[in-house]
């Protein structure tokens, strides 16, 4: 199995900045744990596990982009926000990152705070804000849902990549001088392409799930409070 790392590895960002972001990430995750506990019911528990497994699998697909060692992969943030909501979704992404750092060496353990901040906090936050906004604005059709999923995935990936650029500016171990703008540009362009791929995968997945089991899409729950009460199926649900 050929797997490549993309998360920030040890030694890229200096210790103090990593420590500050570790505190930020810890505080954000503590809040998500509190909010997520209320969300996690019988339907969401297996969904959260599957979303985490899906993200885990999808993050193994790496795209080395350009020559300068900039690579990227799908983040899965928007998918998580759509299917299990922002709180549990952030926890799913964080769990994936922790397991990857601990047993795959993907992303340095000392850099976990930075990676969680970028992908679980910034990525999920941006994605969910966009989802909440777009679902209200766009028509409630499969196309509207697809556009919502696509746009939120695309934007959240690019913004999360910019999180790395910001952290590098704050505490990169090597001063790049004016080349930092070049790094920002490369990251933005490469993640634009990744974002398109991520958007397509997120949109197809969410639309398929919404068509067959709309009850499973967290983002749609808040919109349809008057949904018909589900009749308990005798003999088990499928």
């Amino acid at each position: 199995m050929e797997t490549l790392a993309m998360h920030i590895s040890n030694g890229i960002i200096n210790g103090p900045v990593a420590a500050v972001f570790a505190v930020i990430a810890l505080a954000a995750m503590a809040y998500c744990v509190r909010r997520g506990r209320q969300d996690l019911d019988d339907r969401l528990a297996p969904m959260a596990g599957l979303v985490a497994a899906f993200i885990f699998a999808v993050q193994m697909l790496n795209f080395p982009i350009f020559t300068a060692g900039v690579s990227g992969h799908l983040l899965g943030g928007a998918l998580a926000a759509m299917l299990v909501g922002p709180w549990v979704g952030a926890l799913c992404v964080a769990v994936v990152l922790v397991v990857q750092a601990l047993v795959f060496g993907d992303g340095g353990v000392a850099m976990l705070g930075l990676n969680i901040t970028n992908m679980a906090v910034i990525g999920l936050g941006v994605a969910y804000l966009l989802i909440a906004l777009l679902l209200r604005v766009l028509p409630r059709t499969p196309a509207g849902l697809a556009i919502t999923a696509f746009v939120s995935a695309l934007v959240s990936v690019v913004v999360a990549a910019m999180g790395f650029v910001l952290q590098y500016q704050l505490g990169g171990t090597t001063d790049l001088g004016e080349n930092l703008a070049g790094l920002a540009g490369t990251m933005a362009v490469s993640h634009l392409f990744i974002g398109i791929g991520e958007g397509l995968i997120t949109a197809t997945t969410v639309v398929t799930v919404a068509k067959v089991r709309p009850d499973l899409v967290y983002a749609l729950r808040a919109l349809k409070p008057a949904a018909p009460a589900t009749v308990p199926t005798v003999g088990g649900v499928r």
């Binding site: 790392a5 060692g69 340095g108 000392a110 001063d175």
Partner: protein, 256 residues
Amino acid sequence: MGAGHAHVLYRETDSPVHRLPPEVKIAAMVAFTIAVVATPREALWAFGAYALLVAAVAALARVTAGWLLLRSTIELPFVLFAVALPFIGAGERVDVAGVQLSVDGLYGAWNIVAKGTLGVWASLLLAATTSTRDLIVGLDRLRCPQILIQIATFMLRYLDVLVGEARRMRLARISRGDDPRFVWQLRGFAAGIGALFLRAFERGERVYLAMLSRGYTGRLPTVWQGSAAATTGQWLIAATVPVMAATVAATAAVLT
């Protein structure tokens, strides 16, 4: 699949490191990594000392150097980034074989390669000696919030479900005359991914309901807690590696 859900990196052998309780190993690995990252990059000798520590633990865990090196390729993208640094770094320049290189960039490249590699080695050693089930038990004993443990448990369980479902769907496609090998068949892949997700979910939901009906309450089953929690002696044994690393880091910080 039924074999305790061991992951690809786990090495099924017996060694003193394998026998240590997981929570002890996780704590030691995290502490070691932090000591490495905190070391000033100019202290070249310190990184040699860390590499010796890694080699000692690897020998104890019966992990061969070849396996460790082969698996280290995971950090290749960052090595490439590191190689670029001397060329794009700012500040003072030195002349190396006729090429103007940034001094800061050279140190930066060294910093990333050395610290990154040591970090990868440390986590590979943890992965080689700890099954995923033990890893979750370890995180649980380290007082990780229950909701995270629950998500992690399901994630590792469903990875197998997902892979199995993907294999079945691929077989089904091939047996119907598709040849999913080329880039232009990405459309079929994209269309299948939603179906894959749904099928895996419904299978996963059945697994979950079966667990609930057998008394699952969100806590880890007690049978998983195979070994007892770590004793003070085990904590002390495992602490030797991070303590030595911390000593090296402190010495390096004082000297530079």
